[in-house]
Symmetry: C2
Subunit: 152 residues, 2 copies
């Protein structure tokens, strides 16, 4: 990346962005979580240049979000499978989907976000598991952690 | 941006990333939603070069996520206030916080994500408002919208 590293920032959002903070990375993860595995599959679905796709896939492997697996010996062929950290990104994808849909469309949608068991459309919403309230900027935000050591 | 535009992609995630799909944009939004308004305040909190901060703030204004307001006449001084679309990004921030924290730390956290009314730590989780189930990649995903017109 051409950026300053965010890997040592004290904010988990910044640290996470170190690994996915680029357009293509997030869209590649979206597609990997949607079942795509192979270079051609990613390329068919994304308006991305092959050399950029190669670079982004490698970065996601290095970041521990995709695992590279050989599925053919001769010639050597690889597929990319989400790791646990990659799988755990699905809720972020869902939250982005809801936000993007509300403000940027399109309408109608080409793909819906659904509950797989029934095929019914899901309505992703971010809540606080403690209070069960929906997360809004009015009601929720950041506060200094009293346990954090400034010098540390 | 040096990127191909994603603004006309059929996926709302891609369309949303067109506007925030860059490290700094997301961190600037995070800080704006945390109450920061002025250039100096953003700069103090972010390891970002001034010219880059200027560019990213302008891009967020153009994207309709921040509003530029004059708060002083002579000399002219501006502050940046989240719009409705910007405010609606807080749930995405919360989802990214939970994910980043789980996989990349740090521990302890410098800032906690809290319920403002009580100061108690919140636990952001993305659920499906229809089934009330937590969103996981196993249970939720994309499916073609039968109402979407391939030609349209």
């Amino acid at each position: 990346m051409q950026h300053k590293s965010l890997g040592e920032e004290p904010c988990p959002i910044a640290r996470g962005l170190e690994h996915v903070g680029e357009w293509w990375s997030i869209l590649i993860l979206r597609d990997a979580l949607d079942g795509r595995r192979r270079f051609d599959e990613f390329q068919r679905n994304l308006p991305i240049a092959p050399n950029m796709l190669t670079r982004r896939l490698s970065a996601l492997v290095d970041a521990g979000l995709l695992e590279r697996r050989r599925y053919n010996e001769h010639p050597a062929r690889y597929e990319y499978v989400p790791t646990e950290a990659g799988i755990d990104f699905q809720p972020v994808i869902a939250a982005m989907f809801s936000w993007g849909r509300k403000h940027y469309g399109p309408n109608p949608l080409r793909s819906l976000f659904v509950y797989r068991a029934t095929g019914a459309e899901a309505e992703p919403v971010v809540i606080d598991a403690v209070t069960r309230l929906p997360i809004t900027a009015l009601d929720f935000g950041f506060a200094r952690n009293p346990d954090w050591d400034e010098v540390g």
